[in-house]
């Protein structure tokens, strides 16, 4: 741990706004925090709430970078706040804004849950197999190619944090644009041999301008995905596959 990060006073500029409170107006508020070694934004925000502002709203659950609760704009970029060290900011100034494109709950807290549920419903993000319910669970499971299982896992690593949606320029222009989180789900289920849907079925879901043909390929999703998912590759792949359906 280097010495120069001890003794710094950090300045947090945070958007404050509670839509539940009548007459409340969005505003930026600055809080000062003494930096500690290994300090994350998770630790700093809890300290701010406790010492300076008991009303400050933000969302953390696992605080280990795996649950996707704490996406926010950190100095302009969407990222997971829990695993962001304050030492990453040499000037000691950190601006925090709620993720755009989601309903604001208050301050830094946004409603990703409702968004992700409707995204799942839209792409029907579950295994479609009419035989599924009649599988005899006492019997040895159906075999799967080990490489295929690994490949599905790579796409299944999405934590639905919403960073891709917040970083998406197309989404800003088109309210109903599905976005990268939806495309990666489709790619995941399309790859899975247990899901019996055909390309025609997928076309129904993503074969239009609110789907994969609407993407302007600016790739904010690829640049800002905290899990480094292959968005660029999968969007291009889905497009090629969907073009063949038409």
């Amino acid at each position: 741990m280097s010495n120069d990060e001890q003794g710094r006073t950090l300045k947090f500029h945070i958007l404050k706004y509670d839509p539940q409170l009548e007459g409340d107006e969005p505003r930026m508020v600055t809080f000062e925090v003494d930096e500690a070694p290994g300090m994350t934004i998770f630790i700093a925000l809890n300290e701010i709430r406790e010492k300076h502002d008991r009303s400050l709203q933000f969302d953390f659950v696992c605080r280990a970078g795996i649950c996707g609760s704490c996406g926010m704009l950190i100095n302009g970029k969407p990222d997971l706040a829990c695993r962001t060290l304050t030492s990453r900011f040499p000037r000691g100034e950190i601006t925090l804004l709620p993720l755009p494109a989601f309903e604001l709950i208050g301050d830094l807290s946004v409603n990703t849950g409702e968004f992700m549920r409707s995204m799942s419903e839209r792409v029907e993000g579950w295994i479609h197999d009419q035989e599924q319910e009649s599988v005899d669970l006492t019997r040895i499971e159906e075999r799967m190619d080990p490489d295929l299982a690994d490949e599905i896992y790579e796409l299944d690593r999405c934590i639905e944090c919403g960073c891709c949606i917040s970083a998406c320029a197309t989404k800003r222009m088109r309210d109903d644009f599905l976005g990268a989180v939806g495309f990666i789900k489709v790619a995941r289920f399309a790859l899975d041999t247990r899901d019996k849907r055909t390309d025609e079925d997928w076309y129904e879901i993503i074969g239009n301008d609110d789907g994969v043909f609407g993407c302007m390929t600016l790739l904010g999703c690829e640049d800002n995905c905290p899990k480094d998912l292959p968005h660029q590759h999968k969007i291009a792949y889905l497009r090629r596959r969907m073009v063949k359906v038409t």
Binding site: V61, A64, R117, R143, M144, I152, Y153, E160
Partner: protein
């Protein structure tokens, strides 16, 4: 007053809660899940290592079956578990894995042929069978005779939770997010649902249901340092306790893990030490060989945690702003090994500590990890005191873990209990209509509203954050890894004082809608009650069993303590729980108490143990032609829902 009716109300949207909801929904009962957060963000996602089930496909797991899984789990529990429940669990676990495979979990699969693995720090080549190619594989874990832990790379809990929630979405099961149950509603000893606070607008809503299931996870956040998510505060368990008639059980049984990073308490895998990593102190000295010359860093989890604590107490910890810690040194393993085999650890070190573990030591400390105790249930999952209240997963004391849980058995419990308890919840919905007086619902909602009104109205009083911190420090220091009579007596006294003070909390932020300080003020008095159950339980249990380790009573004492602790909170004005004890009947056990096989066995045995051993021996002799299933049935019959009774097929041995 807003009232929402349903058949099956589930509080908690993790693996256990989702699976119970799915079971009831499939049987035709409307289910609503309440969750503090979106279901996919639940703490179930944090399980990385895997889920135990005796599928026996990998070459190192061949020969495994329910009997061996049962025996490992009972030993691991230090004979503190309910053996019939362990049987129910071990028999259903393979079905749970296979069900999740059809629902989309991309379980890692067996690849036929040679592969290199590390066993006892040496590189060994093992050969997987052609007949198992493409079946679900498994890895080695602590305390198991076979490689039984099925996994999805290093994201097992995540993929299980996603598959489960996706299934719930397919079945159109509503998840009411950002809702907190703050009290259970009951008429006499019949549970009718819960009073729920909307965390966004602050509204109080009565959810009224035929059956209510608590699946709210553990109570790790009673401690200042825990691997648990920030929502694991035990509130579901606490509101069951506050009914005065739903007992909690074994609240003193709390597991610690040796190597979580400091300060945030995120786990680094035991694999660091398995691969050759060392523990070092403030002087850079490798201290484990001083204490455990035989197994050194690779002594069992509870032993290592105890030794580390002892060493810190001697003043050999590394001081930091966040308290003393020790070092985990994996630099000797080299960059190539770390990049390839300890990728998660490397990422955790980079993101949370800003260090490179191939060059820098990792600051670690033993950390609270799992709550074996919880809402005491029958094998059906129903509370022993409150009809219509069920519990599943870590929130429950079902009780398959006794005083120590095996790695890989926690996510396994969530889905298996979800399947089994879910069936009994559906049975309950079938057999019981909803019959209640509206005035009952009203009186509970009014009671909770008044508490909140009082909190907001109080102009001066106690600081909630201060009370919480004090509680967490007391639990960490005095109800931790090592416990002793004096410390525990002090802990009880101090927690009691905090509980009294918590009745006079005053908050600064007076807003009724979304208000994090108000949330704390509602929760902290409840958490203090749980803390007192754990502290009193630990103080009074004058033996050491599993994770409950008494310096002044180091031996397991079956003669006096082969008992389950029950805690109730009879009256809101009480300052202590009412404790009772229930014997675990050796004469009903399939596996009478023996040695776990660590260190010298100093167990003080119960007289029934020898009697039961002899009885079982004679029974076995009298049935020379019985197969293992028939024999098990004769020794300790147990009940399972019809649909899960079938024998499990395995490669090479069929249904044997």
């Amino acid at each position: 007053m807003k009232i929402i009716y349903t058949d099956s109300l589930i509080i908690g949207g993790g693996l256990a809660g989702l699976r119970v909801a799915i079971a009831a929904r499939k049987r035709g009962y409307e289910s609503i899940i309440l969750s503090l957060i979106p279901a996919k963000r639940s703490h179930s996602a944090a399980a990385q290592g895997g889920m135990q089930a005796s599928l026996a496909a990998s070459v190192k797991s061949r020969g495994d079956n329910e009997d061996i899984h049962f025996a490992d789990t009972v030993k691991g529990s230090d004979w503190g578990c309910d053996q019939k429940v362990v049987r129910m669990f071990a028999h259903t676990a393979p079905k749970a894995i296979r069900e999740l495979a059809t629902w989309g979990v991309p379980w890692s699969r067996v690849r036929a042929g040679d592969r290199e693995v590390v066993i006892n720090a040496e590189r060994v080549t093992i050969t997987e069978g052609e007949d198992a190619h493409g079946l679900i594989t498994s890895r080695d874990f602590g305390g198991t005779k076979k490689w039984r832990t099925c996994y999805t790379a290093d994201g097992t809990g995540h993929t299980m939770l996603y598959a489960m929630d996706n299934k719930a979405i397919e079945l159109d099961i509503p998840v009411h997010e950002r809702k907190e149950a703050i009290a259970l509603i009951h008429e006499g000893n019949r549970c009718l649902g819960a009073v729920v606070r909307d965390l966004i607008n602050g509204e109080l809503i009565a959810y009224v249901a035929r059956a209510t299931t608590m699946a709210t996870g553990g109570y790790g956040r009673l401690y200042s340092v825990t691997t648990n998510a920030v929502i694991s505060e035990g509130i579901g368990t606490a509101i069951a306790l506050e009914t005065g008639i739903a007992p909690l059980s074994n609240m003193e049984a709390i597991q610690f893990h040796p190597t979580a990073i400091v300060p945030v308490g995120i786990l680094t895998t035991e694999g660091c030490r398995g691969d050759g990593g060392l523990l070092k102190d403030v002087d850079g000295h490798r201290f484990m060989p001083d204490y455990e010359p035989g197994k050194k860093e690779l002594a069992s989890r509870d032993v290592v945690s105890r030794r580390m604590t002892e060493h810190i107490r001697k003043g050999k910890g590394v001081p930091s702003r966040y308290g003393d810690h020790l070092w985990l040194d994996i630099t000797l393993l080299g960059k190539a090994h770390i990049d390839k085999n300890l990728r998660e650890v490397k990422e955790i070190c980079e993101y949370f500590l800003g260090i490179d573990p191939s060059k820098d030591f990792i600051p670690v400390r033993p950390t609270q990890h799992y709550s074996m105790g919880g809402i005491r249930t029958k094998p059906t999952g129903e509370s022993i005191g409150l009809h219509g209240l069920f519990a599943a997963g870590e929130a429950s004391c079902w009780d398959m873990h006794g005083f120590n849980r095996l790695g890989g058995n926690s996510v396994a419990e969530t889905v298996v209990a979800g399947m089994i308890v879910g069936e009994y919840v559906a049975d309950y919905c079938e057999a019981n209509s909803l019959d209640f007086k509206t005035s009952t619902i009203e009186s509970f909602v009014n009671r909770e509203r008044k508490k909140i009104d009082d909190l907001i109205a109080r102009s001066s009083g106690e600081e909630v954050y201060e009370l919480k911190k004090s509680m967490q420090a007391i639990m960490m220091e005095k109800v931790g890894i090592f416990r002793n009579g004096d410390g525990l007596a002090q802990a009880v006294e101090e927690l009691q004082a905090l509980l009294k003070r918590s009745r006079n909390i005053a908050i600064q932020n007076k807003v009724r809608s979304s208000n994090p300080e108000l949330v704390e003020a509602i929760r902290v008095p409840k958490m203090l009650k749980l803390a007192l159950c754990a502290a009193v339980g630990a103080r009074d249990r004058t033996e050491s069993r599993g994770a409950h380790s008494r310096e002044d009573f180091p031996a397991r004492n079956d003669r006096e303590w082969l008992k389950r602790t029950l805690s109730t909170w009879k009256d809101e004005a009480d300052e202590l729980p009412t404790q009772e004890y229930v014997d675990l009947d050796i004469m009903e056990m399939e596996m009478p108490p023996g040695s776990r096989g660590y260190g010298n066995d100093e167990t003080i045995h119960h007289a029934d143990t020898a009697v039961r051993e002899k009885q079982i021996e004679e029974l076995k002799k009298s049935m020379p032609n019985a197969d293992r299933h028939e024999m098990q049935e004769a020794i300790m019959p147990y009940v399972l829902p019809e649909k899960y009774r079938g024998k499990n097929e395995r490669v090479g041995v069929g249904y044997e």
